[in-house]
Structure formats: structure tokens, C-alpha cells
């Protein structure tokens, strides 16, 4: 059976709910602007008197800063201001939130502009504002810095070794609020224990153990970081930027610059990808300080090289996975030891990795140890289910080895041990309704899996999990007199979310989604809204839209009851865009008819909601089936078929869910087969361009087939589960398993490029 012989991009639903708008595939509201180039991104921003900023970056991976002399730069004609770390105000504030983690203000400030040490090649040292970008670049070259170069540590193994060069002389290892007092490059040790690990391994008939290594990779968003700041004479700071969280930018700027949040307004521009990498601030504070000094707006746009070397890639890691099983494949014990690179400052996603590493399985006895390790690389940042792909690369390969050794089908092995509602996770909580079993069954029953792998090709499968988050969202709805609505919200639109949020409001009000005009607005115009990330946007901001629409509905019913019909509101219902009386069938009006009467019946109607859902977030499982061939002469891997199966709860807009699944799969494929920060011994990234940091394009891959398994999340009005992240978790292991099947060699290091495949064969 070929890929053309069956229905692709299926939606498998177990729900009886029928919706008018939710589940359909309308054209996105921002589509025309995006495909015609009219959409405005941060680099498009212009203003009268605009200055251009450039940043001086360290050529060394690890060095003390002895002195910085900016005098020659300041004298260059066309240069208007220069800033360094001393221009940041001092603050007593200790801990700040950066949208996806907490860190100290000192570290956040130092990462944006180094003060006493540079900790990675590319670390920002100074900023220049000039009348044009060329003069700014020239000026940056005139800044003189005296360094005392120190040896770098570039992997967790190097950083954790006895006597390793220390990045921070006072960094001690913390264990859940306890300072161990041990000075090293290990910032934190976390641990989860379930049952009795020793007893579990004693009960095992077979024990499988492997060590794995992954490299630093970048999120690869096509649009580099950018920001324009205008610090006005009234003391208000306005910032236009590319960000996943306008309120994160606002709060970070307030903390870093020592000003109240009421003085900061952030206007999020359209965003060309983020994947977690555009949650923290990088250029915005520098642009703000330059604007303060010059009185002019200042724009800074990172180059691609700056983006690789000066933003936040996701960590490399070293993992050891050990699993014990009985003769029939039941897992009796599982152990994970994971060390993750945090980059220059603490905060790797090892905590998340620890929560996901065995999440797909019901295991009675388990031990997980995780270590957050600083190294001389850029401070790592979230990348789509951060930590979980690394963990799954290990676990899913060991599961594959078990299946092969015991002669059990790999999907059946996973089903035998599958986590389900009521399974207690290794980190403690009990799963509520989840879709792991349904995803595995959909994989098993899919035509791809039911068809044998082509000759001379290997097939691999894997499953992965991400738990998703909720956090704060707000939404306002104003009813227009023509029966359309304006919907404003604060979630930067990365994957079509403004339309899926509009669809949820349209469903409640019973109006076409084309009658909703959604806008993503600035921090002055909408209530606090957390990041577009963590697979939360369609869930949480959608919930805010749902509640705002319910608020509108309630007001409409009250208006019709009190003013128009003069009957009890309890006798009125509003469904499918029609307002009717339950007691008099003659009384009915459409939403549009009501809207046209608003001015004469009491004025406009607006609805509002701010939410921070406390329950029902719901994690998502995703599985892959991949067929590939490996050229025995060159080691080149060609993927011939790739299927992605994911539990989406309820797909509000199936196109966007499929897009997330395909996008995550492609990123996972690139990560598995080719992407890495190719580091030289002195800590230089040798491949900091998109020519040499090779990400897959549409020319490299077959069509990614998707199956959306709808196991509705009981914790959301429409059953939504976040879907943006779980799909990057399984591809790394699925591909490794397919390469193993194709070549007979188990690949324990990533990337699994031609060179490493050929080396594994020799």
C-alpha cells in the first residue's frame, strides 16, 4: 500500500460533541498579510529619527574582563551613544521570572551584557547606537577590551570533572532548597524515586543499559531577534519587538532598568518563529538604554551569527538509561541519570526531562537523577518540550533494544507497559485522562505500520510525552453594530492561534468565525497574558475567549430580557447565533439583528475575561513511525515515510494541529540527523550560519502524514490539549531505531549524520 492509497491527515475522534465552528478549517485571519508580505515584523519597524544599534560580542568562550575602553567608538562621527554593563542600574531584587524560569537579576543582566566575565563566545559586552547600521558596526570594532582568557568547559562531562575550570566561583549545588555548599559547575541536583529500585532490578530477567550523548542545537527560527526601543521624555519606554511574551519583555525590562512596569509598554510585532527561544530578552534592554541616552528610537536586529552565538540554544546532554524487564517484557525497574548543559548560567530543562523520561510507562520501581550543569556556551533556552526529546532519545532506544532481544513487537511492548488514567508517574502525581494507549493503538493500526518496511530500509517507532502548562490569559470582546465582533488578546501568534482563539469565541456566540476580527495587542491594551509557549495558547487564551464570549452572551440575554422583550432572562436561550424565547416561539432574533439595535437599547456590549486555569491542563502523547534507508557507501540517511500520531484533546483547527505535528516532526528530524553546534576546542561555534548549520527543508523530506487522536481533555470547555510541543519528542529516537534496523548499529550519540553512521560501522 502506498501513501496514496489511504486517507491522509486523519482525525480520530472519540467524542460525541458536534460543533459548528470548532473542528473546521477556516482560512486564517492573518493569512493574506503573511503571504503577501504586508505583515509587519520587528525588522520592518521604522520611526522618525531612528538610530541603529549593534552589539560587541566576546571572541572568547571564557575570560575575565580586565577593562573596556569605548572612547574611540564614542568619537566616531555618526555614533550617538555607547553602553556597557555599568549603564544598568543596581538593584536589590534577587529573583526574577523570565517567562519560563526564575533566575537572579544579576545573571539575567549579565547575560544581556557581561560585567566581570565573559562566559561564552558571543557574550554581549557593549552596545552602540549610530545613524546607520554600518557606522554602528564600525564603532563596535573600535571598542577595546582587555581580557584574561581562561580555559572553557564545553560538555557536562568536562564541567563535572574534578578540578574543572569554574564559570562562577560562588556557584554551589542546590538540592530542593538545600544549599549543599559544594562549589562546582553543578547548579542543581534533582531526584525522583518510586518504589524500590534495587528490588525492581533483582526481579528483572533482563537488564538493558546504555549511555547517550546529545549536542547543543538551536531552535532555528527563521526571524532573528530584534527590538526597537523609544524611551520618551515622559519616562515611558515603548518597545516593538519579536517575542513570545510581551508581558515577559515588559516585566524583564522593568526589573533590569529599575522602572515600574507602568512605565513600560511592549508592542509585539508579528513573529517569525520562536519555539521557546524568543521568551527571554536579549537586545531590548540594550536598545532601551541606548534610547535613554540618545532620546531617539533605537533598533537592534541580530544577525544570524549573533542569533546562533548570542541567544539561547537548547542543551547538549549526557544520559544513562537502565531498564529491567521480565521475560514477557513487563518493566520491573527503570533508572535514569541525566546531566544537561545550562550554558553560562543555571537553568537547563533537566527538571522537565526528569518528569518526561519514563512518563509513557507504568513502572513500579524507578529512580531518576538530574543535574543542571553550567558550561561555556550561550545560556540555554527552551526549545519545544525542552529536555523531553533528549530523555526520549535514551528511553525509547532502550525500549527498542528490549523489544528486539525479547522478540516482541515494539508497539506491543509499549502497550504492555503503557501509562493510563490512574498510573502514578515516577515524579509522583497520578495521571488523569490521557491518550497514550490510544496513540499507540492508532500507530499500530495505521496503514504505515500495517505495511512491511520497504526492502533495504529500516523502520523505527517511538513515543513521547509533554505535560503542557496553563498560566494567565486575558481576552476582550466588543460587539459591533453589524453583528461582527472585535476580539483582542495578548498571545503572540506563532502557529495560527489568533484564529483558533477566534473560533472558540465564535462557537460560543454561534456566529461565523469570519465575523470575528482578532487582534494581538500590546501590554497597555489587554490584561496580563503569559507567554505563547508551553503549548498553552489555544488552551488558556482560548478559555479566556470562551469566557469573554460567555460574558457577552449573558449581557445580550439580559438586554433582550429587560429592554427588548420584557421577559424573564431565564426564559431566553441563545444558541447557534439565534436568540429565542423558551415560552413564546414568536420571539426570536439573530445575533446580527440584536447587534443592530444595541445603540437604541442601552449601548454597546463588551465582554471580558482573565483566566489562570487551575485544573485540567492535560498532557499530550505523540508517536512516530519512520522508514528510512542508509546509503552503505556514504552513510547518508533518506527518510522515505514518516507518520506522526498525536493526542490533541480536541483539534480546534485541524490544519494548525497538523501544522504543529509536521513542524515538530521536521525539527526533530533535523535534530536527529544533522543539527549541532560544531564546537572547536576554544569554544567557538564553527558553523554559525544556515549554510553550515543545516536544517531540513521541504526538499529533504517526504510528506509528513499525521493522525490526530482526539481524547478530549475533560478540563477544558472544548476538550483542548496543548499540541505544540509533544511532537518534537519522539522523532530523535524513532529515527535512531530505524537506523539501527537498517544498519544493525545502535546510534547513541547525536546527530546521527553520515560521518557518525559510517564511523559506527567501522
Amino acid at each position: 500500500m502506498t501513501t496514496a492509497d489511504y486517507e491522509r491527515n486523519k482525525v480520530l475522534s472519540s467524542s460525541d460533541e458536534h460543533y459548528r465552528v470548532v473542528g473546521t478549517r477556516p482560512v486564517r485571519h492573518d493569512g493574506a498579510d503573511k503571504v503577501t508580505g504586508r505583515a509587519l515584523y520587528g525588522a520592518d519597524f521604522d520611526a522618525a529619527g531612528l538610530l541603529h544599534g549593534k552589539i560587541l560580542r566576546s571572541p572568547h568562550a571564557h575570560a575575565k574582563i580586565i577593562s573596556i575602553d569605548t572612547s574611540r567608538a564614542e568619537k566616531l562621527e555618526g555614533v550617538k551613544a555607547v553602553v556597557t554593563a555599568i549603564d544598568f542600574p543596581k538593584s536589590d531584587k534577587m529573583v526574577v521570572g523570565t517567562g519560563d524560569e526564575a533566575t537572579t537579576l544579576e545573571w539575567l543582566r549579565d547575560n544581556i551584557m557581561a560585567s566581570t566575565k565573559v562566559l561564552y563566545k558571543g557574550h554581549a559586552l557593549a552596545g552602540v547606537a549610530a545613524v546607520n547600521p554600518h557606522i554602528a558596526e564600525q564603532a563596535v570594532e573600535l571598542i577595546e577590551v582587555d581580557y584574561d582568557v581562561l580555559p572553557p568547559v564545553l560538555t557536562t562531562q568536562e564541567a563535572m570533572a574534578e578540578g574543572a575550570s569554574l564559570l562562577h566561583d560562588s556557584l554551589t549545588t542546590e538540592e530542593l532548597g538545600h544549599d549543599t555548599g559544594k562549589v562546582s559547575n553543578v547548579a542543581e541536583h534533582i531526584q525522583h524515586v518510586k518504589g524500590d529500585i534495587d528490588k525492581g532490578f533483582e526481579e528483572a530477567v533482563e537488564i538493558f543499559e546504555r549511555e547517550f550523548n546529545t549536542k547543543t542545537v538551536h531552535q532555528g527560527y527563521i526571524e532573528p531577534h530584534n527590538g526597537t526601543a523609544l524611551w520618551g521624555p515622559d519616562g515611558r519606554l515603548h518597545v516593538w519587538c519579536s517575542t513570545q511574551g510581551a508581558f515577559v519583555v515588559r516585566d524583564s525590562l522593568a526589573d533590569l532598568l529599575g522602572i515600574p512596569i507602568s512605565k513600560v509598554r511592549v508592542i509585539p510585532m508579528e513573529i517569525g518563529g520562536g519555539f521557546g527561544g524568543k521568551i527571554p530578552v536579549y537586545v531590548e534592554p540594550v536598545a532601551a538604554l541606548l534610547s535613554k541616552k540618545t532620546g531617539s528610537p533605537v533598533k537592534i536586529v541580530m544577525s544570524r551569527k549573533d542569533t546562533f552565538e548570542g541567544s539561547g540554544p537548547t542543551p547538549g546532554s549526557n544520559l544513562k538509561i537502565k531498564i529491567g524487564v521480565t521475560k514477557d517484557g513487563t518493566i520491573t525497574a527503570a533508572k535514569a541519570w541525566m546531566a544537561m548543559e545550562a550554558g553560562a548560567y543555571p537553568g537547563s530543562p533537566v527538571g522537565a526531562a526528569a518528569m518526561c523520561v519514563f512518563a509513557a510507562y507504568d513502572i513500579e520501581n524507578a529512580l531518576i537523577d538530574g543535574y543542571d550543569v553550567v558550561v561555556n556556551k550561550p545560556k540555554t533556552q527552551a526549545y519545544r518540550a525542552p529536555g523531553a526529546p533528549n530523555a526520549a532519545f535514551g528511553t525509547e532506544q532502550v525500549m527498542d533494544e528490549i523489544a528486539e532481544k525479547l522478540g516482541i513487537d515494539p508497539i506491543e511492548l509499549r502497550l504492555k507497559n503503557v501509562a493510563k488514567e490512574g498510573t502514578r508517574r515516577v515524579d509522583g502525581p497520578v495521571f488523569k485522562r490521557i491518550g497514550c494507549k490510544e496513540v499507540l493503538e492508532a500507530m499500530r493500526d495505521h496503514p504505515h505500520y500495517q505495511t512491511p518496511a520497504p526492502e533495504n530500509q529500516g523502520r523505527g517507532i517511538a513515543i513521547g510525552f509533554w505535560f503542557n502548562i496553563a498560566l494567565d490569559s486575558a481576552c476582550n470582546i466588543a460587539v459591533n453594530s453589524d453583528g461582527t465582533i472585535n476580539l483582542t488578546e495578548g498571545s503572540t501568534d506563532i502557529g495560527g492561534s489568533r484564529t483558533s482563539i477566534a473560533m472558540q469565541a465564535a462557537e460560543v456566540l454561534g456566529i461565523p468565525v469570519e465575523d470575528v476580527s482578532p487582534s494581538v495587542v500590546d501590554t497597555d491594551t489587554i490584561g496580563f497574558t503569559a507567554v505563547t509557549g508551553g503549548s498553552r495558547t489555544t488552551y488558556a487564551t482560548g478559555w479566556a475567549a470562551y469566557k469573554a464570549a460567555e460574558d457577552v452572551k449573558k449581557q445580550i440575554i439580559a438586554r433582550v430580557a429587560d429592554v427588548i422583550w420584557g421577559i424573564d432572562a431565564a426564559n431566553i436561550k441563545m444558541e447557534d447565533g439565534l436568540i429565542t424565547s423558551k415560552t413564546d416561539s414568536e420571539l426570536k432574533m439573530t445575533f446580527k439583528e440584536f447587534a443592530s439595535q444595541m445603540g437604541d437599547t442601552g449601548g454597546g456590549i463588551s465582554g471580558q475575561a482573565s483566566v489562570k486555569p487551575e485544573e485540567g491542563i492535560g498532557g499530550s502523547f505523540c508517536g512516530n513511525i519512520v522508514d528510512l534507508k542508509v546509503d552503505p557507501e556514504t552513510g547518508k540517511t533518506s527518510i522515505s515515510r514518516f507518520t506522526c500520531v498525536q493526542d490533541a484533546g480536541k483539534a480546534i483547527h485541524p490544519d494548525y494541529v497538523e501544522g504543529q505535528m509536521q513542524g515538530g516532526s521536521v525539527q526533530g528530524i533535523g535534530w536527529a540527523l544533522n543539527e549541532e553546534y560544531f564546537m572547536s576546542e576554544d569554544g567557538t561555534m564553527d558553523n554559525s550560519s544556515l549554510l553550515d548549520y543545516r536544517m531540513p527543508t521541504a526538499l529533504d523530506l517526504p510528506m509528513i502524514d499525521t493522525v490526530i487522536v482526539e481524547v478530549p481533555n475533560p478540563g477544558h470547555p472544548f476538550g483542548v490539549r496543548g499540541v505544540g510541543e509533544a511532537n518534537i519528542v519522539p522523532p530523535l529516537a524513532a529515527i535512531a531505531n530505524a537506523i539501527s534496523a537498517a544498519t544493525g548499529n545502535r546510534m547513541t550519540d547525536m546527530p546521527m549524520n553520515s560521518g557518525s553512521i559510517m564511523a559506527s560501522d567501522s
Binding site: 521568551i279 515524579d427 496553563a470 498560566l471
Partner: protein, 87 residues
Amino acid sequence: MAVVFIPSLMQSLVDGNDRLSVDGSNIRQLIENIDETYPGFKNRLVENGRIRPNIAVAIDGEITPLGLLQKVPEESEVHFLPAISGG
């Protein structure tokens, strides 16, 4: 009484127990009640009157945004987990 699961790295503080049944109507009260019997427990989880920023609290598997203020129903399970978000 709620059941508070003790993270493995803190079990040495509570005589090796992996869980404790504790009285308390909210997280603050639970922690303080445990701290009365096992001094030092509170300091591991609470800083400046709030749950430490790198720790999340889950009630019956759901992460609460309310921290110490979160009400705790009878018979519920309480877990202290690494705080994480996503990308």
C-alpha cells in the same frame, strides 16, 4: 487529612517517610504543620513568604497557580515538583 508526598531529597528531614498525612486547609498550613514536627522542612520549600520559584505544587496531579494560598481538599494528594514551563 491530605497526603503530602515528600520529595526523595527531603525524606531525610522527615525520618525517611516518603509521605505524611497532614491536617491543613491550605498549602501554607500543611507546610507549617509538617515543619512543627520536622523543623527545617519549611525553609526548603518557602522563601520570602512564597513557594520557592523553582518549585511547583500539585494537588491531585494539577499544578496550582496559587502556591501557599491553594486550598487543599480532604484526602487530596500534594506533590512538590520542579517548576517548568515549556517552549
